[in-house]
Symmetry: C2
Subunit: 253 residues, 2 copies
Amino acid sequence: MIPQDDRGLLLGDGLFETILSVDGALDRFEEHLDRMVRGCAVLGLSPPAPEKARQAAERALSDAGLRQGRAAVRLTLTAGSGRGLDRAPDSIPRLLASAAPAPAPKPAVTLATVGVRRNERSPASRLKTLSYVDNVLARAEARAKGADEALMLNTSGELGCAAAANLFWISGRGLFTPALDCGVLDGIVRAALIRADLGLEAVEVHAGPEALESAEAVFLTNSLIGVQAVTAVDGRSLAGSEALVGLISGRRA
Amino acid sequence: MIPQDDRGLLLGDGLFETILSVDGALDRFEEHLDRMVRGCAVLGLSPPAPEKARQAAERALSDAGLRQGRAAVRLTLTAGSGRGLDRAPDSIPRLLASAAPAPAPKPAVTLATVGVRRNERSPASRLKTLSYVDNVLARAEARAKGADEALMLNTSGELGCAAAANLFWISGRGLFTPALDCGVLDGIVRAALIRADLGLEAVEVHAGPEALESAEAVFLTNSLIGVQAVTAVDGRSLAGSEALVGLISGRRA
């Protein structure tokens, strides 16, 4: 339980991370913690001590009895207690951890372009803040359109991301993904793919939705799904995605 | 206390209202509840029963010993418990209420234009959702610039609002405020002023920040401050605001 005056609850004032655990091993824990620390710098919060965060994550896994198989550990850091937009100078962030089963993801999904846009003019668009209602709305809109996930553009009409994943596409020898200043999360799998030696040239771009129309493959990434093929965007089939994503997954393994 | 799996905490998935109480009387309670109900329709949440909401507000006032003088009652409606962007179909919203002293507001404030923009391309920009971190960031940025409050533009560069208030200006015989589709809250005092017979022509507009440069007065509105004069924007003094706002307050009273 947490107090009702927590700023995470009242104002979405805080950050989170979702970390894959496989048989009790926390995947890329340091990268998740680094990202939370960078987010703290933007929000003006004291970052959690690494050992304390790891212990909280481990305890959440044990308490939930999830040391076997796949689990999702969520670390939540709120700005502590306090009313009103101005934080009290002495407010102390509150660190929470929980774990839940993480079933194997679907190998492929469909996308629908939604009306809710990424706000690239806010630093929050590049962080996993507790203010995620736009993502909730985007996902619901995509579901209502019969798709699995949302394709979110930014307010300039450029490609952004999914409601809970980064977006990639392959065209020719290029591996493309929206630049961070398009208003997208600095994803951990995203960064790993950009660095990886896949035999493709990784390019962070500003691109309109038409870029997906000529793509040979479109896929999503996040810490729980890894790399997930997109088989259709707005009902237009993308036949090449599954085979190419299979090859990428093979080369990463 | 609330459970750690509350979607308000985890995802900013919910709504709130801040209601002025004077000597135990809840100001414009029905209008606040109406706005929450309209927000529920946008977010796809079951709205609270009016009697239940009023009882919760009254109880919060009594529990806090704030039936005398000015108090701020906050109603918070979260989307209930549940992980992940998709809400469970059976999730039940959670209604919370709290009260805190509400000292008399400053008669006048200064504004600084901030970098964080309103996202007029999300319905959340017109609602009091629990995803308010952009507002927190905007306020902090304004404070760092030595001002009391933020002047937020939207992603198109149009005038929006303050971090916690609607924006008005007077020019000639016109009373101007940004239209709702600029990405601003449908403020209760804002609506009351537009309807009021002030001897000015109320106009909801799309306007750039230059509109404030030729204004005779600039002011803010919200339920706690009522009408509050702006005496400077980005260090440029607005000598006429206090006198004109005094007249408006007099005509409303």
